[in-house]
C-alpha cells in the first residue's frame, strides 16, 4: 500500500507549524547569538582612539579579503589581562560569593513564604499572590533609593533600633556588604517565591495524608515527600535569582561601599569610565561562560528527570 500524498491544506498546516517552531529560534539568533558574536569579536580587538573605540573594524564594503586581514589582528590579550590583574578575579569571586549567599538566604526565606501561600485557603491565595507581586508596581530604582533612606545613619532602621534600646550607638549600614545583601534579598524575593509557590501549589495534598497513613509523622513527610517534589521549583527559583544577582550592578552601586565591587560594577567602569570596550567585552564573555555552567547543569537534571521520573 502506498502512503497517500499530503493534501495542499496539510502541507500548508505543516508549513505553519514549522514557522511557529522556528520563530523562537529566529528570535534567539537575531537578539542573542548575533549580539553575542559582536561582543565576542570586540573582546578580541584592541582599544583605539577611534569611532568605535577599538580596532580592527570589519568593513564589508572592502570585500572578504579585508575581513580575513582584520581577523588576523585578533588577539587574546584582553583575556590575558583578566587573568593577570587580580581586580577582575576578585570581582568575579565577590559576585559569586554574593550571589551564592543571597540565593541561599532567599531560599531559606522564600520556601516558608511559598509554603504558607500554597497551604493558605483558596480564597486567600489570590490576595497573597498580589502582595508578592505588588512591589513590581513601583520602579525598582525608587525602591532601592527607599532602602538608602531606611539604612542611612538617621534612617528608619537605626531609629527603630535606638528606640527599642537594642543598640546605644547607631551602627553604619550603608556602604556595607550587609546593605547590599539586604537590597538583593529584598529585590529578588518574588523571583524565588513565585516558582516555589507554583510547584508547591500544584502538589496533591493527599500525598501528605498517604505518608501519614503509612506511619510517617508530618515533619518527616516534609523531608520525604514535600521537599523532593518541590525540587523543580527550588532549582528554578535558585537559577532565577543566582543568574541576575551575579551580574547585578544597581544594588551594589547604590547600597554597597568600595570594598564590595561586583563584576557588574567592574564591567560598567571599563565600559563607561575607561572607555575600554574590548576589556569590557572580555569581562562579559567570561561572565556568560560562568553562567552557562549552572544553566547546563540544570538542563541536564531536567532532562534526566523527564526521562526517568516526573
Amino acid at each position: 500500500m502506498s502512503v497517500p500524498a499530503p493534501s495542499v491544506q496539510q502541507r500548508k498546516r505543516n508549513l505553519g507549524q514549522r514557522l511557529v517552531l522556528w520563530a523562537p529560534y529566529a528570535w534567539l539568533l537575531l537578539f542573542f547569538l548575533v549580539p553575542f558574536l559582536i561582543v565576542l569579536k570586540i573582546s578580541l580587538s584592541q582599544t583605539a582612539i577611534a569611532q568605535p573605540p577599538y580596532l580592527p573594524t570589519f568593513d564589508l564594503a572592502a570585500g572578504f579579503s579585508s575581513l580575513f586581514d582584520a581577523m588576523r589582528e585578533f588577539s587574546f590579550e584582553n583575556y590575558a589581562l583578566l587573568a593577570s590583574d587580580t581586580l577582575y578575579l576578585h570581582s568575579y569571586l565577590k559576585s559569586l560569593e554574593v550571589a551564592a549567599l543571597a540565593t541561599a538566604i532567599l531560599l531559606l526565606i522564600g520556601f516558608p513564604v511559598a509554603y504558607g501561600m500554597a497551604r493558605a485557603s483558596r480564597s486567600w491565595q489570590p490576595a497573597l499572590f498580589v502582595l508578592i507581586v505588588l512591589p513590581f508596581w513601583t520602579s525598582f530604582l525608587i525602591r532601592i533609593y527607599a532602602w538608602i533612606n531606611i539604612l542611612q545613619r538617621e534612617g528608619l532602621l537605626n531609629q527603630a533600633l535606638l528606640a527599642l534600646r537594642i543598640v546605644d550607638e547607631p551602627p553604619v549600614w550603608l556602604a556595607t556588604d550587609t546593605a547590599v545583601m539586604i537590597g538583593i534579598v529584598y529585590s529578588y524575593l518574588p523571583f524565588m517565591v513565585l516558582p516555589l509557590y507554583a510547584t508547591l501549589e500544584r502538589m496533591d495534598e493527599s500525598l501528605l495524608e498517604a505518608a501519614a497513613d503509612l506511619g510517617c509523622p508530618r515533619w518527616k513527610a516534609f523531608w520525604l515527600v514535600t521537599l523532593p517534589l518541590a525540587m523543580p521549583g527550588i532549582a528554578a527559583g535558585m537559577l532565577l535569582c543566582f543568574i541576575p544577582i551575579l551580574g547585578e550592578f544597581v544594588i551594589p552601586d547604590l547600597l554597597g561601599g568600595s570594598e564590595t565591587i561586583m563584576i557588574g560594577q567592574t564591567l560598567w567602569t571599563e565600559f563607561f569610565a575607561n572607555k575600554d570596550w574590548p576589556v569590557a567585552s572580555a569581562v562579559t564573555v567570561v561572565l556568560l561562560a560562568l553562567l552557562v555552567i549552572p544553566i547546563a547543569l540544570y538542563q541536564c537534571s531536567q532532562l534526566r528527570d523527564s526521562a526517568g521520573g516526573r
Partner: protein
C-alpha cells in the same frame, strides 16, 4: 450476596463508632452515628455524594477528628491517636502514589517508617508485588503505569503493612467498567486470602452489593439502614432505601386489613395484596414492588389491569411501563429468555399485572 461468608453482626466488633458527629461550619457531615464493623468483614458504606460516608472513613483513618462521640478499634478509643500511629491503612481515591518514588519504594514506604530491617522490607515488598501481579514493575515510576496498574500499586502499598482495617475510598472510580468488575472480584478474593477487614466507601450500589458482606446506606450524615445486600434489596425499611437501591414501584395507599399472612392496601391503582406488616387498618402506607417481581400477562384475569404505554429493550431485559386503570404507572422488568419475535406483548396492549404478596413490601416511612 458477595462471598458467601457468613458474618455474625453480634460478634465482638473490631471497629465501633459510638454516637460520632462531625460538622463543617455548622453543617453536619456525620450526625450522631453509631456502627459496629466485625473482624474479617467486608463492609461497604454506600450513599449519594455528600452523605458523609467519606468523612466517616477519614475519621477512621485519623484525618478528621469527631466533634463528639468515640471511635473504638479493638475496644480501644482511637479518637485522639494521630493517623501515623493507627494500625489502619487507606487506599486513596486518587491513589496518592508518590510520583518521585518508583513502585517498589512506594510499596516499601510504610515498612520503612516502621524501621524494619532492609532484608525484611525487600522480601515483603516482593511478596506483595507478586500478590498484585506487579512483578517486574518495581523500577517503574507511577506515571509509567496504566490506570489499572497504578490502582494495584496503591492497593499493594496499603496492604503491605498488614493493617487491622483496610480503608478503600472509591477505589474503582477511575477504572473503566470492565476493569472495575474484574477488580471487584479480585478485592473479594484478596480479602478472603488475607483474612483482613475491609471497609469500602462507594456511591456505586452495584459495586457495594457485589463486594460487601454487609452495607450501610447513608444519607445526610446518618445511617439509614445496615444489612446484607440481600436484606437491603429485598427488605428495605424505608421508601428512601427502596428507591436508592435498584428500581422500585412505590404506590401510596391505605391499609384495609392486616393479618399475619398479608396486608391488604387500597390504592389508586387498585387493591394490592402485600406482605404481612405491623400496620393497622386505616394507616397511610406505601407499597414497594421491584419491577422484576411483577408478572405481566396479556389479556384480563386476577390482578391489576392496565395498558402498556412504553417498552424499553435492554438486551437481557425488557422494561415495560404499564398505566393501570386506576392511574398510577408501574415499571415491569422481564428477562428476555425468548426471542423478540416470539414475545406476545406489544405497545398499547391490555395486560394484567400479578405478583407474590410476599414480594410487595409495606413501608411506613
Amino acid at each position: 450476596m458477595g462471598t458467601g461468608v457468613q458474618i455474625d453482626p453480634a460478634a465482638r466488633p473490631l471497629v465501633r463508632f459510638e454516637g460520632v458527629s462531625k460538622s463543617y461550619s455548622g453543617v453536619a457531615a456525620v450526625d450522631a452515628l453509631s456502627l459496629d464493623i466485625v473482624e474479617g468483614e467486608f463492609f461497604a458504606l454506600l450513599g449519594p455524594s455528600g452523605c458523609g460516608k467519606t468523612t466517616l472513613l477519614r475519621m477512621l483513618a485519623g484525618f478528621e477528628t469527631p466533634d463528639t462521640g468515640r471511635i473504638l478499634l479493638d475496644g480501644q478509643d482511637i479518637s485522639a491517636v494521630p493517623p501515623y500511629r493507627r494500625p489502619v491503612n487507606m487506599m486513596f481515591q486518587s491513589y496518592a502514589l508518590f510520583p518521585h518514588l518508583n513502585v517498589a519504594r512506594n510499596v516499601a514506604f510504610g515498612l520503612q517508617q516502621e524501621g524494619l530491617p532492609r532484608a525484611e522490607i525487600d522480601a515483603r515488598v516482593q511478596e506483595m508485588l507478586a500478590l498484585m501481579r506487579l512483578q517486574g514493575y518495581g523500577d517503574r515510576k507511577p506515571h509509567q503505569l496504566s490506570g489499572g496498574q497504578r490502582q494495584r500499586v496503591a492497593l499493594a502499598r496499603s496492604l503491605v503493612k498488614r493493617p487491622r482495617v483496610l480503608l478503600l475510598d472509591e477505589p474503582m472510580a477511575a477504572l473503566d467498567k470492565k476493569l472495575r468488575q474484574e477488580t471487584q472480584f479480585e478485592l473479594m478474593r484478596l480479602r478472603e486470602r488475607l483474612g483482613l477487614t475491609f471497609v469500602i466507601v462507594t456511591h456505586d450500589q452495584e459495586e457495594a452489593m457485589t463486594v460487601a458482606h454487609r452495607l450501610g446506606v447513608m444519607n445526610h450524615g446518618a445511617l439509614i439502614q445496615v444489612g446484607t445486600p440481600a436484606e437491603i434489596y429485598e427488605q428495605p425499611d424505608s421508601r428512601w432505601v427502596a428507591d436508592f437501591i435498584g428500581d422500585v414501584n412505590l404506590i401510596e395507599g391505605q391499609v384495609m386489613s392486616s393479618s399475619t399472612d398479608a396486608t391488604l392496601v387500597a390504592s389508586a391503582a387498585g387493591d394490592i395484596r402485600a406482605a404481612a406488616s405491623r400496620t393497622s387498618p386505616g394507616d397511610n402506607v406505601w407499597v414497594a414492588i421491584r419491577p422484576e417481581k411483577l408478572h405481566i400477562a396479556a389479556g384480563g384475569g386476577d390482578g391489576l389491569a392496565g395498558e402498556v404505554i412504553a417498552i424499553g429493550y435492554l438486551g437481557d431485559l425488557s422494561h415495560y411501563q404499564v398505566r393501570t386503570d386506576g392511574g398510577p404507572v408501574l415499571k415491569v422488568a422481564v428477562a428476555n429468555v425468548t426471542r423478540l419475535s416470539e414475545r406476545p406483548i406489544g405497545l398499547h396492549q391490555r395486560v394484567t399485572l400479578t405478583w407474590a404478596a410476599a414480594s410487595a413490601l409495606v413501608l411506613t416511612r
